[in-house]
């Protein structure tokens, strides 16, 4: 039986989008046949889709927003970046920097060579492990997208900040980003998802990245939507020889925030460094599903996710490491630590190791921890009350990962946002302590 959501989305699909028709049709056929996930569907077991299933969405809205409103929710103070702004999935040239615009192409404006490249990436994506019905929907609805291409041995001198904002009530945005780094290229990409207040829209995003030989990709994926926003996102990363992927993922929390991350080590020598934080509160749900595919020998990965779950919120972390038969000399580490702040908060954490090679080093661990009593006593012995000590330590648990961010401005910007979330504002601003 299909849901209101499925019926409605199918009906809304356009017949044809030019050279993308083949992918549209493949997606549509698969989506039409897809079984709606239930408690019995392993990949969605703890991720309720109630917020989507029987919700009637409108077609994409055209709510008007002022530049000031947008600036307020998108500006990362202290960050020097080229900004590209999409509102409800539409590129806003007047809100974007000229440099950013010159670095990207839209699928709709792609030349023949780019069309081949894009089509190839889209086809590859359909074959990825964990491919699900929202990926099908994304393919089915695909009319346009953003292509970022960095040429051989080049780099952008500043980070590229890709801001996606939903503004209207109750609409659906399918968004697609493809990033291709050629041999020796470097890029820092900040994907920032935001929404205006009281926005019960649904964003279905898919970002695919090809990191070429010896290329470096620094990736920040920040889910900063308001509480009502629904978000399902997939990130696919293909790593070529000696490629480096360094990423940070944030799920601030909303009624539905689901993220899938698939990293493929395709050729030897590549390294993936993945950090993530989730902090749902109230009745929010945040789900991170990660899958590191070690397909070949001599690759390394290190993954650290931390979550603090408050009120009656729920979080899911599923971290899979798949070491294929030929992937000898793999080094893979995975750690997931969680703090539950109340009796009703819930975490479902599952590290999943599948190892078919015999000469590998692989460590994993998941904990649902209490705060460190020694640390708490230390704070109390300095006059800090028990409750405040608790708040400071909870924040510290997350802040440890912010301290490690390469783009410091993001850490400096997120620190007060998260501190406020834990009920204790930071005393010192980044400006005050800048010279320390």
């Amino acid at each position: 039986m299909s849901t209101v959501f499925q019926t409605q989305q199918l009906a809304a699909l356009n017949a044809s989008n030019g050279w993308l028709t083949a992918i549209n049709e493949a997606g549509k056929a698969a989506f039409a046949e897809a079984q709606w996930p239930s408690r019995k569907t392993e990949a969605w077991k703890y991720c309720s889709l109630k917020a989507l299933a029987d919700h009637a969405f409108d077609a994409a809205a055209t709510a008007s927003t002022t530049a000031e409103q947008l600036a307020e929710i998108t500006q990362i103070a202290g960050l020097d970046a080229y900004q590209l702004v999409l509102v409800n999935g539409q590129l806003q040239a007047e809100l974007s920097s000229a440099m950013a615009l010159s670095q990207v192409s839209l699928f709709s404006g792609a030349d023949a060579e780019q069309q081949t490249l894009i089509a190839d990436r889209l086809q590859q994506a359909r074959l990825q492990p964990g491919h699900h019905l929202f990926n099908d929907l994304n393919d089915a609805a695909l009319a346009d997208g953003v292509l970022v291409q960095i040429g051989k041995n080049s780099r952008l001198d500043k980070p590229l900040q890709l801001v996606s904002i939903s503004t209207g009530d109750n609409h659906v945005v399918n968004s697609r980003v493809i990033v291709v780094l050629e041999t020796g290229a470097e890029l820092t990409l900040i994907e920032q998802f935001a929404s205006l207040a009281n926005d019960s829209s649904f964003t279905n995003n898919q970002t695919e990245v090809l990191v070429g030989d010896n290329a470096r990709f620094n990736h920040y994926r920040l889910n900063l939507m308001e509480s009502d926003a629904r978000f399902i996102g997939t990130t696919l990363v293909d790593l070529q020889r000696d490629a480096n992927y360094d990423s940070f993922h944030l799920g601030l929390g909303s009624v539905l925030t689901r993220n899938d991350l698939i990293v493929n080590h395709n050729v030897g020598g590549s390294h993936a460094e993945i950090a993530g934080v989730y902090v749902p509160k109230d009745s929010q749900l945040v789900d991170f599903h990660t899958d590191i595919e070690h397909r070949v020998a001599h690759c390394t990965s290190n993954e650290v996710f931390r979550g603090i779950i408050n009120d009656q919120a729920k979080a899911v972390f599923n971290g899979r490491i798949h070491i294929h038969k030929d992937a000898q000399k793999t080094l893979a580490e995975l750690s997931n630590k969680n703090l539950l702040l109340t009796n009703k908060a819930e975490i479902n954490t599952k590290p999943e190791l599948e190892i078919y090679a015999d000469d590998v080093k692989c460590a994993h661990g998941a904990t649902v921890a209490q705060l460190d009593n020694k640390a708490r006593f230390y704070l109390q012995s300095r006059g800090i009350g028990e409750q405040e000590a608790q708040v400071m330590l909870s924040f510290g648990f997350i802040n440890e990962l912010l301290d490690g961010l390469k783009v410091e401005a993001i850490g400096d910007w997120l620190r007060p946002v998260l501190a406020h979330r834990f009920g204790r504002d930071q005393v010192f601003s980044a400006e005050q302590t800048g010279d320390l």
């Binding site: 009593n373 640390a375 230390y378 704070l379 012995s381 800090i384 028990e386 005050q432 302590t433």
Partner: protein, 249 residues
């Protein structure tokens, strides 16, 4: 200042302190020496109010207040400070935010006006310089990745910021080289004041060359078995603790 009477305490059901008495007047420095396992560190932890140390008998009265009835943070706000033997590392909590929260809590309790962030930062910069730590230590996580000596100096720095009435130094000298020891001793000496008292717990006489005590006590098997002036420390250095433990004193 503080009066400890007949203090008995257990750790995991094992009696460690067995009737300890100590009276300290304002401005005095008391050294407590003794063999390993005598209960030296237990004394500091019991006074500071650490969980897991069960007081079974006795009283600790500071400035007319019974300390044993107070929570750890309340004791700190009353002016009691323990410089830890092994300061804990707290990654993610910046030294500066921690110090500010601590100083705010103590000053508020003592009815002193709060320091604004600008003045606080100025004072913190001065103090951290005086203990020979780089300014960057203010921004780092509390004790995170600090060497042993740096941790001890960070304890001293906190003590300077909080200006406590009773400072308990728990083996602050252990593991320090002479340069670091002098930094710590100079800091402590600079804080000596007619209204501030010190309990200096140490295993080695060396520290007392730099922090000259008014009294030296020997703690053995949970009790003070001998008290004297600073010359007692030298005698202990020469003869060891055996003659006291054997009950010959």
């Amino acid at each position: 200042m503080i009066s400890i009477k007949n203090l008995h305490a257990k750790v995991e059901d094992k009696p460690i302190l067995k009737g300890l008495n100590l009276d300290i007047k304002p401005g005095e420095v008391h050294a407590i020496m003794g063999p390993n396992g005598a209960g030296k560190s237990t004394l500091g932890n019991v006074l500071a109010g650490r969980d897991g140390y069960e007081v079974t008998e006795g009283s600790v009265v500071m400035n007319g207040k019974e300390m044993l009835e107070l929570e750890a943070e309340e004791r700190a706000r009353e002016g009691l400070f323990l410089a830890f033997q092994y300061p804990v590392e707290i990654p993610g909590v910046s030294n500066l935010e921690f110090l500010k929260a601590s100083v705010d809590a103590v000053r508020e309790h003592q009815g002193k006006p709060a320091l604004d962030s600008v003045n606080f930062l100025k004072t913190a910069r001065e103090k951290i310089k005086s203990v020979n730590l780089d300014q960057s230590f203010l921004k780092r996580g509390v004790n995170e990745g600090f060497s042993g000596g740096e941790k001890k100096r960070n304890e001293l720095m906190q003590m300077m910021m909080l200006e406590p009435q009773l400072c308990i130094l728990d083996e602050t000298d252990s593991g320090l080289d002479i340069d670091a020891l002098q930094v710590v001793a100079n800091g402590v000496n600079a804080m000596r004041d007619p209204n501030r008292s010190f309990i200096v717990v140490t295993h080695y006489q060396r520290l007392l060359d730099y922090i000259v005590p008014d009294y030296v006590h020997v703690l053995a098997d949970g009790k003070i078995v001998k008290s004297g002036g600073k010359e007692l420390a030298l005698e202990l250095e020469e003869k060891g603790y055996g003659w006291l433990e054997n009950g010959e004193a």
